[in-house]
Symmetry: C2
Subunit: 226 residues, 2 copies
Amino acid sequence: LLEARGVTKSYQMGESVVHALRGIDLAVEAGEYVAIMGPSGSGKSTLMHILGCLDRPTSGALFIKGVDTKTLKDNALAETRNSEIGFVFQDFYLLPRLTVLENVEIPLVYAGVPRAERRARATRVLSQVGLQNRLGHKPSELSGGQRQRVAIARALVNEPSIILADEPTGNLDSVTGSEIRAIFSELNAAGNTIIMVTHEREVALDAQRIIHLKDGLVEKVEAVAV
Amino acid sequence: LLEARGVTKSYQMGESVVHALRGIDLAVEAGEYVAIMGPSGSGKSTLMHILGCLDRPTSGALFIKGVDTKTLKDNALAETRNSEIGFVFQDFYLLPRLTVLENVEIPLVYAGVPRAERRARATRVLSQVGLQNRLGHKPSELSGGQRQRVAIARALVNEPSIILADEPTGNLDSVTGSEIRAIFSELNAAGNTIIMVTHEREVALDAQRIIHLKDGLVEKVEAVAV
Ligand SMILES: Nc1ncnc2c1ncn2[C@@H]1O[C@H](COP(=O)(O)OP(=O)(O)OP(=O)(O)O)[C@@H](O)[C@H]1O
Ligand SMILES: Nc1ncnc2c1ncn2[C@@H]1O[C@H](COP(=O)(O)OP(=O)(O)OP(=O)(O)O)[C@@H](O)[C@H]1O
Ligand SMILES: [Mg+2]
Ligand SMILES: [Mg+2]
């Protein structure tokens, strides 16, 4: 479904270069649940942005359903991304002037869903993550874990078949975190593909495979015992 | 050292009221290491902002070294805060147009420390958290865990005697997280007072006492076995 071949990402910083990814080979099958772990700064978020078509590699290739993304123009890439992929960002990226409900409706606005249905679907997914009493709040009027849950709800509301989640339980207590993990496991059981970055091994063990990154490279791939 | 008596905090939201804190009694001795745990939305960050003199209670009192903060004007409160308290925010609050080094120098600028000494002290604390190779980066050019470590470095650079840290290891892998925890344990062993919000029980067990919040109230206080 998703395949990275020889993917690198470098940033020019004045005189020096930062090599965030140094050559990643990675293949994710449709319906798989893959976890990505690794030290802070090892390239996990950078890799997620490339897999999610939010950024392009410096060199190497990304294939989506066999199509080389290099052959797609920016708007075709955005089209694929918006219709197929839900992304939970490590730092949420909520729009500060919109309410919780309006933030979660945004992917449905892009998908052309009519107003009443948007409201119903956004409300339903927000109830799933326990935020039914916060619909009218702005992001600045929420706790850290509540903002994280809004970001999760927004990623799921358009029912994407590929979900990329960058540390979705980092700001959650263990009870709330377990509820979120259960949502992802159910989505995977329903046939959706999940790629999740996490720092917690316990969460990574929800997946079928754990990819360990280090210094911009895949250090090892671990199969999770069932 | 720090005492909250009957502290409440409420937010008016149009017609309704959100009671973030419903009556908190809490005393922290000089040199103590206290952890605060509780579900997402239970009031931990709100309590931290009040303890750190960044916000005032709706009712109730906060005493700092026996002085009722109600008797202090805003600039006297800010003076106490800047000289005595280091605060690690749950969402970092780094200044986006300044470099990592400049961000960490800011408390020293307020303290009137001369330029060369500021640079040396900020560099030293940034090396302690593993960011010696990122001094010239802007926050947007860092990973999530690197931003978290800049926020920690900035809180510590002025050598405050009271450190309030709101989930300082949430974005860190276990190895980097252990390094940060060791820094806090050493600071406490040196006589500094630490109040840390965490979602991870393992981290909370570094402390001498764990305060469990639920729905804006102290649910129970747990002594940590040595
Ligand atoms: N715009 C940029 N310019 C320069 N360097 C960058 C930029 N963005 C990221 N980096 C660097 O690339 C490396 C990888 O960053 P990335 O965000 O992928 O790490 P990560 O594995 O997600 O870390 P964390 O666990 O802390 O979130 C880091 O060392 C970071 O400093
Ligand atoms: N400005 C505000 N206006 C209205 N309600 C607010 C505001 N700030 C916080 N709240 C509410 O107060 C409650 C407590 O928030 P707080 O940030 O203290 O929670 P927390 O325990 O730190 O949660 P987390 O673990 O998710 O960070 C939450 O339910 C939140 O929605
Ligand atoms: Mg990251
Ligand atoms: Mg909080």
